[in-house]
Symmetry: C2
Subunit: 248 residues, 2 copies
């Protein structure tokens, strides 16, 4: 499994992905699931993947190769004129890879599927955030739905729903996402540190802060322990229940 979140703020975009892959519970590895491209002054693109690792690695390799083919039929992600065109290109590549693998024989439902979060900014446009489906189509984040999650999304969702605010600083947004990751990691063995983080600052048109939060990162441990205590305190502050008939 996987857990990745892309978050749209007024001041830019924040992306965090985990790095655990598993095939069953006894075949666990660490693979990068976040990929970034930039043309300084022109664009910054971030992509995060969930699903079949062979599929997502093929997609990323094809995107890389095609961005270096000047004679390609359609512009690659480094030449496309807008984030919408980038999303279309990524979606088509994803659909193509899944179709190719599926043709090869296995017809298991969803076996080769993958889902992608894509975000960034191309000069002349706004920062945009997309969720791309295995069928190659996609939806875009808006102020009503300002974040996308892929992979194991449920455990970490309640805190996002409650605490997200588009005015947040990048530091607050990272704190929020680490709480969401901590809830997920505590509940699901197949999501794990290290975490990759990319913070894209609006209109910077280059890769922003890009770093990895390792196992035993002191800040992550502080958040993880602190959140347990803070939750119990918050719980303690809620009014007590009393039985309907006051008799127990």
């Amino acid at each position: 499994m996987t857990y990745c979140v892309g978050l749209m703020l007024n001041r830019g975009l924040v992306f965090i992905s985990d790095t655990r892959t598993n095939s069953g519970v006894d075949n666990i590895s660490t693979f990068r699931k976040m990929f970034t491209w930039e043309v300084p002054g022109d664009r910054s693109i971030t992509l995060m993947t969930a699903g079949n690792l062979a599929t997502t690695q093929s997609v990323v390799s094809l995107l890389e190769e095609r961005s270096k083919e000047p004679a390609a039929r359609q512009p690659g992600i480094l030449e496309a004129k807008s984030m919408f065109q980038v999303a279309t290109f990524v979606g088509n590549t994803l659909k193509e890879v899944i179709a190719t693998h599926a043709e090869a024989g296995q017809r298991a439902d969803a076996a080769f599927n993958a889902t992608i979060i894509l975000g960034g900014q191309v000069a002349g446009g706004e920062p945009r955030l997309f969720l791309i489906y295995p069928e190659g189509n996609f939806i875009e984040a808006s102020f009503d739905t300002p974040y996308f999650q892929i992979g194991e999304t449920k455990y970490g969702r309640p805190i996002l729903v409650r605490a997200y605010n588009p005015e947040m600083t990048f530091e607050e947004a990272i704190k929020l996402l680490l709480v969401s990751f901590d809830s997920t990691i505590k509940a699901n063995l197949s999501v794990s540190l290290p975490l990759d983080v990319h913070v894209y600052e609006r209109d910077s048109l280059r890769t922003g802060q890009l770093f990895r939060i390792q196992q035993n990162d002191p800040y992550f441990e502080e958040i993880s322990n602190g959140w347990g205590i803070a939750l119990r305190d918050a719980f303690g502050q809620l009014p007590d229940f009393s039985f309907p008939d006051d008799a127990e």
Copy 2:
């Protein structure tokens, strides 16, 4: 979908179930998913169901009918000598109902499946809590895993993991479960009030407090609103993140 939780405390058992059933999102109804039986002074049994409604209603009807057949081959749930025997009986009934429906033609995976939480106490034994699978086998709660969830379990799990304590009062346990239900209801349309609650007091050997929390229940609304505020406060108390290179 459904959300039900059974919780084992030192002082007894607490059960809460929602009442929403749906077939698609445009066919929503309210059905009871919690069923209780008692023989005062001898036993109290509570059962909560998730899954195919035709299956779970058949199971409950069969349990009812068989508890009135003195000549039955095996003792019904009102005669079985221990909670283990009750669980075996319920598991066999569940397996039988699923097999009967599946034989009738449709072979869709899991189409007729259901899962059951069973808890209670029979005179001479301890209070016990079981999770019964569609195959008829079951597992029992222990102090390591003191609660079972069925249905849409993920959204409401983080708070249980963090705030459960076997020493809790019944009032605290209900508060905890309502927070867990609130997180689930906020995230998933297919789980909804009213909620059925049963509180079984250890060694009482009769049905305990049994009541329904209705739509617009003032305490539930207080918990729901208060929890949003408390979560944001808790989040604000966590230490702030700072970027690794202290430059942003």
